[in-house]
């Protein structure tokens, strides 16, 4: 197992490097730049800006400089006046080497759009918000989706099944852009029960996490149903029944655990998707999450924010897929990693 994890972590670095290369050169191949405006800036101003952000250097140097700022740790001996060009994620004081000596690592660069903030500032401020929303929404999706799928499978072709799958189809086909404002209107404008927009208290999380979670609960319910139906036809279920176990024990001890595999498989990518921010939900509910930066950074050619968000997403995705693989081994004893 340890060997498996070590290998996966090494592969993760390879994946991230490949992702960074592709993203970097792809985004630079797209026309326009961070200083393209509807009202174009004078060439002199653009030149000033390119110089400030080192965008006037050859492309390869820029890539190496960017990756160097992230990967290569530095030890600084003098006080750094806070500035977006030198903002490190990790700052460890080294008092034995001098009062102002710090070990600094991982500078993801400045934002070219929100010009007084660095990518690290943006992550530190907005990622926790998206993470909280994403985790709660995923919880909602599982809490609705799994029981719905189980009931539909066990009561196959009954009114319960049809009702459950009806809800699931509605969840898949009605996007957040509809459910969001509907919930806001009902619980906020009409009933005055819940805050309509904003973030900060648990009450603020209820509507958006429900709107977001409901959409994905449908996906999970359908997967759960299909998978459980398939498992119920397996030989080992027949064996379990044959040895006289109660139907309840058969379902709980044997069928459910094995039928979770497809669900766990989608939870990996779904987790990565939800915790790194969801643009539409965050916009509708006025949530200061990271989701918008995935979109606005690309339209605004905010290169370092594009790189930062993509690398973050890739990292979370790779890690959650690794965790999923580990869970497989627990769910199905036939799966073993060496």
């Amino acid at each position: 197992m340890a060997q498996f994890i070590t290998r996966r972590i090494l592969w993760m670095f390879v994946v991230l490097i490949v992702v960074s290369v592709i993203t970097f050169f792809l985004m630079r191949a797209v026309p326009g730049g961070p200083f393209s405006r509807e009202k174009p800036l004078p060439p002199q101003v653009i030149e000033n800006l390119n110089k400030k952000y080192r965008l006037d250097e050859p492309m390869l140097n820029q890539y190496l400089g960017y990756m160097g700022d992230i990967l290569v740790p530095k030890v600084t001996t003098e006080r750094i006046r806070p500035n977006v060009l030198e903002d490190y994620l990790i700052n460890i004081p080294l008092p034995f080497m001098g009062e102002e000596t710090y070990f600094r690592w991982m500078n993801f660069g400045p934002s070219y759009k929100a010009r007084s903030r660095s990518v690290n500032d943006i992550f530190e401020e907005h990622l926790p918000v998206s993470f909280q929303l994403g985790v709660v929404a995923l919880g909602v999706a599982l809490l609705i989706g799994i029981p719905l799928g189980i009931v539909s499978a066990l009561k196959r072709n009954t009114v319960y099944d049809y009702a459950g799958m009806g809800v699931a189809i509605m969840g898949v086909s009605v996007p957040v852009i509809i459910t969001g404002p509907l919930l806001q209107y009902l619980f906020g404008v009409q009933l005055h029960l819940l805050p309509i927009t904003g973030w900060g208290t648990p009450a603020h999380a209820i509507l958006p996490s429900f709107a977001l979670g409901f959409t994905y609960s449908a996906l999970i319910a359908r997967l759960m149903r299909a998978s459980l139906l398939q498992v119920l036809n397996e030989d080992y279920i027949r064996t379990a029944r044959a040895k006289g176990l109660s139907e309840r024990m058969v379902i709980i001890a044997h069928a459910l655990k094995n039928s979770m595999i497809p669900v766990v498989t989608v939870i990996g990518p779904l987790f990565a998707l939800l915790v790194t921010g969801t643009f539409v939900t965050e916009t509708i509910f006025g949530i200061p999450g990271l989701g918008r930066y995935f979109v606005t950074s690309i339209t605004g050619r905010d290169y370092s924010v594009i790189m930062g968000t993509i690398l973050l997403y890739a990292l979370v995705l790779v890690i959650s897929n690794m965790l999923v693989d580990i869970v497989y081994g627990w769910l199905d004893p036939r799966i073993r990693y060496t």
């Binding site: 393209s36 509807e38 009202k39 174009p40 000033n48 934002s111 007084s116 916009t283």
Partner: protein, 565 residues
Amino acid sequence: MNSARRSLRLIGLLMVFAMLAVLAVSGVGAQDAKILVTGLNMVGADPDNSLDPSLSSTVQSIQILDELYIGLTHLNEITAAVEPGMATDWTISEDGLVYTFNILQNVPWVRFNAESGAVEEVTDESGAVRYVTANDFIYGITRTLDPVTGGDYAYVLAPYIVNGVEFNAGEAAAEDLGIRAVDDYTLEITSPEAVGFAINIYGLWMARAQASWMLDEFGDTWVEAENRQTYGPFAMKSWNHDQDITIVKNPFWPGTEAVPQPALDEVVFRLLDDTAQFAEYQAGTMQAAVPPSAEIDRIKADAALSEQYYAGFDSCSLYYGFNWEKAPFDNVNIRKAFSLAIDRESVVNDVTRDGRIASRWYSRPGITGAPTLENNPDLGVSFDAAGAQAALEAGLADLGLSSAAELPTITLGFGDTEYNNLVAQAVQQMWAETLGIEVQLSAMETTTYFDVIEVDAPQIFRAAWCMDYPDANNFLYETTRSDSPNNYTNWSNAEFDALVDEARVSTDQAARAEMYARAEEILVAEDYALAPIFWYVTRQVVSPDVTRTFSSIGLERYEKWDFAG
């Protein structure tokens, strides 16, 4: 009913009373502190700009900056006239080059102290209060023009300060700038040329006073509420990025005729898209909001909401430009036909339905020098189907073609947004109906499109200009003169150039108005260089509990707002 149940009921009643009492007290508290909650639509704009006078470029950030820092001169939101701001008065030398400003002497730098919950004066090392001086303006202006700062709007200010352009290009030193402090409260700015609207420019957000000691101490983090020092009628209380910005009354602002002390205690700007703002407004949690355009019809039909709705002139003008270097738009009659065939009234009333105003010329009416709707009832272009068809016939004859089918394929380019698509499709249909010409639509990713029109604009292209300062020069000289970098039409007309050159330096406002009216006539109704479509409006719903001024400049002056009664 037994006694236990009765006492339970009594306790219940007492609890209800207690809750009511708490509510009443907090209600009174809320009324005592006059807090206005409004919205700023920041979604789709730059993710919250830096709120830095040297860097900011969006109207949302300028709205906030205008409350935190006052310029030498100040723009009246109703008349768009120049009023005294931080300068009590000023003199202009006879040659029109040297401006001498006398600066208010009793305006301290302040910051909001989160611990005490109050706005406090900023003191220097010796404990003396720091007042805003001429040197703070010099620092702010120099920082804006410094090439290291890389300010988006440095280019607006640079031409009106001696050596400004050179310094911004890195070819002159800061000491060479035509700006100096005669004494602590007297500032002298020298312009390389005499232009009347320079007085406007010296008051803009990128020419405000800035606190050098604060930047030295906090570096790039000075913009945050806990570090920021300001001097205007409001100070910054909090800034939760992407969520809300709260400004609080600055009790040390002395109050002037143009910029009085605020009546409101706080203004909260929630950064929400318009749909969310309107929902909050309807729930009563916001007192002012920008309603979504889809709701305008419903608002106008609603007895209560229609009273709360206001649409005022904004700063932008939208047009479809013709590229003169691409056939068939090298022909004036073809351009005329395409311009006359656009039913602008129908575009704003039937298609966008959001209160925008059909435009007959390019520059925004009501700003200094620009034609006004009242005085120029016949100026410009408007929809004329018969005229368009006649012009098309004439154009085809010029080109030696027998029918419109022989024209080359015509493309209209625009940035790919839902709104642009909507307008383009409507105009495409108008051209098809009136001229019988099927125009291809080319929607490009927005940032790509900005680059495309700069280098090689399509035959017809969508463009908009939002003014930097309220003078016709900003539209007609800076964007449509033949050598302007913002002129994508490749059009040039010597008479037009001469007119805008002369009007630029003239100080006779009546003569300027005539020259700009003539220039507009050439631009849109003789040469048909571009087809104006509509002028933008700011849309608002504001609670009837609020007394306010009705702005025509796209910016509110919250120091003049109050709660009624």
